[in-house]
Amino acid sequence: MHPRRHLTTPPAAAVLAIAAIVAACGGPGTSLSPTSGPTNPPATATAGTPSTAPTETACEGDTTADPSVTGELSVFDWSGYDAEIFWQDFKNKYANVKVTFDATGASDADIYNGISTGTHTEDVFHPYTGWLQFYVDEGLVQEIDTTKLKNWCKVPDSFKQVGQINGKQYFIPWDWGFSSVLYRTDKIPNIDSWASLLDPQYNGHVVMWDDGPGAVTVSSYVHGWDETAITDDQLAQSKAEWTEVLKNNPTRWLAEPELVDSFENGDGWLAYAWQGSYATLLNDGKVPVAYSDPTEGRNSWIGVYGIRTGSTNTDLALRFLDEKLGDLTGQNLVENYYYGTANADVMAGITDETLKTAFSVNDPSILQKTNFTPNLTKDQREAWIAMWSEAKAEAGVQ
């Protein structure tokens, strides 16, 4: 984004009010749009608890082109997700449908704020687990008739359950992945606990994700707390511990390229990371890395699509969601961005060794050992984000 600049020369008295107002709106820069790829997905939470990795189904979707279907469909999505490869099956099948994206979402809050305030009126939107309950409670999302989805049979039941709230299917799962501790094996022989991120012996080299819920999730794993019932005392303890981490380590990451760069330039030795960063580092081959299987279990996140309440474009929206689960679209997601897809056939067909390693495809029990955080209330989420913000402020002024 471009900075605001004044090229005129107003006298001091005249510039005061304008400049002071500008101060409240931010400095010379404005908001960041992180990267060209889908690098900001997960809130670390899901409603269901998938227990098995997707395995190949006997299901066959219908890829026959249907030029008779016409119309327009609008999608509110994250930055980078408007790339054609992420809806390739729909494009191929319904060539006469015009799809318009607003791909300005940069955070879960952006998606939620846009839909909840009515500033975004697109037909389809893309939230992540941990934020789903709000949409249902506030009547912002339509129930989905999955009998109309030809690719629905490719989705494992455990993933289907993620989009079910109050016994109804409101969302279809699409992308997913792990969160765990990524570390350089030439610097650290083995990491078997999330507690390593809080360990002072690694001061100077820990790169944490810039995310309050992610931080509280780690604290809950380390201390064995019930993540759905974090007390004020526990939150205070979490804040104190993360303040120390932030104070004693140079930086945190917002987008995955920052994390990858910090590992490759030698600054970062261990980090909270998604499997995409792991796969990228494996492919780059510049530094030796491993992705931990902590004794507390990995974390996992799942992205879903929903149809906005008020959209009268339900037929096209359903077709779009159906084709999001198509094979080609899923392959593109996995191969280009190292994200998992809810299409079990695609996951079962992975042959690339790097991807198999990144998704632990050879470990059939991996999801049984993984923590799928339940949905949170709005108060919980805001308290966790406030905790992280205060920890950053405290670390910054010390």
Binding site: M1, A23, G27, A109, P250
Partner: protein, 295 residues
């Protein structure tokens, strides 16, 4: 016979002024004052709603929350000090540039001015990211020092700290600080220098007793133009500040972009705006621009 037309009801200069200023005023009203009013209104809402213009029961809960966190106050103070240093140094660096353009560049002044503004032909983000490439562990400086054997390990202190943020912001602001000073210097009547010379004033005395006093309004404008936006800066600290270089604007940004808590973010913004205005008013009282203009 000369026929006199009816006397115009309004002064044509006034009509011209209004005609020229109304579009700008409308734009400011729509895109500056209205959003500001919405921000203030939002800070008194209990939660973010779609009906922001509708009736609501005002609450002070977000102000209570924002003012109860000691580290936010400390961070606001730190951000203020950083903005002061940035504004002071940027203005000091900008003055010689403006002086050169006004009095020494001659017919090439326009060309030099364009060169001064060349950096703005590229993205702000790109320019700040360039600093990251320069100062990072694998950056130009570290590579040079390691490559020449001056150091064995890259210097980590070059990036991700408060000093880096300040230096980067100074670099960003210098061209902007130059412009108000240049405008004031350009209006100084050259005959004043001749008169001073006739009165045996040395070049230094001419500068100290003629040029500098007359350019003080431009200096004050440049300082404030840098200081005020810098207090709320958040992009530069996000890119090069790391954990130690965080500023108050980053806290505000968290509540707008990572949380759905716009009311709290708005309350933090209004607090910063209010305190910045108070500081500026105090500064203006101390500096007294009108007195400077009479100097």
């Amino acid at each position: 016979m000369i026929r006199r037309g009816p006397r115009p009801r309004t002064d044509p200069r006034r009509a011209t002024f209004l005609g020229l200023s109304i579009p700008t005023a409308l734009i400011l009203l729509a895109f500056l004052l209205a959003p500001l009013a919405l921000t203030v209104s939002m800070s008194f809402h209990e939660k973010l709603t779609s009906d922001i213009l509708g009736p609501f029961e005002p609450t002070l809960q977000h102000y209570q929350r924002a003012t109860s966190v000691a580290s936010y106050w400390q961070l606001l103070w730190t951000s203020g000090v950083m903005a002061f240093v940035v504004a002071l140094v940027a203005t000091l660096f900008a003055y010689p540039v403006a002086y050169f353009l006004a009095f020494r560049a001659g017919s090439r002044a326009g060309l030099y001015l364009i060169l001064l503004l060349v950096p703005f032909w590229t993205s702000y983000l790109l320019r700040v990211m360039a600093w990251k490439l320069l100062l990072g562990s694998n950056g130009v400086i570290n590579s040079l020092l390691v490559g020449t054997g001056v150091i064995d390990e890259p210097l980590t202190a070059l990036l991700y700290n408060r000093t880096t943020v300040v230096i980067t912001l100074i670099y960003v602001w210098i061209p902007f600080a130059t412009l108000p000073i240049l405008a004031v210097l350009g209006r100084i009547d050259a005959r004043l220098h001749d008169a001073a010379a006739d009165l045996y004033a040395s070049p230094f005395e001419q500068f100290r007793r003629v040029t500098l006093p007359l350019s003080l309004p431009g200096i004050a404008a440049a300082f404030l133009m840098v200081f005020i936006p810098t207090v709320g800066e958040y992009v530069t600290p996000l890119l090069v500040g790391g954990n130690a270089g965080i500023m108050y604007g980053n806290v505000i940004e968290d509540y707008f972009s990572k949380s759905a808590n716009w009311p709290l973010g708005s309350a933090l913004s209004v607090i910063m705006l209010g305190i910045t205005l108070v500081l500026v008013v105090i500064g203006v009282r101390i500096v007294q621009p009108r007195r400077l203009l009479r100097t």
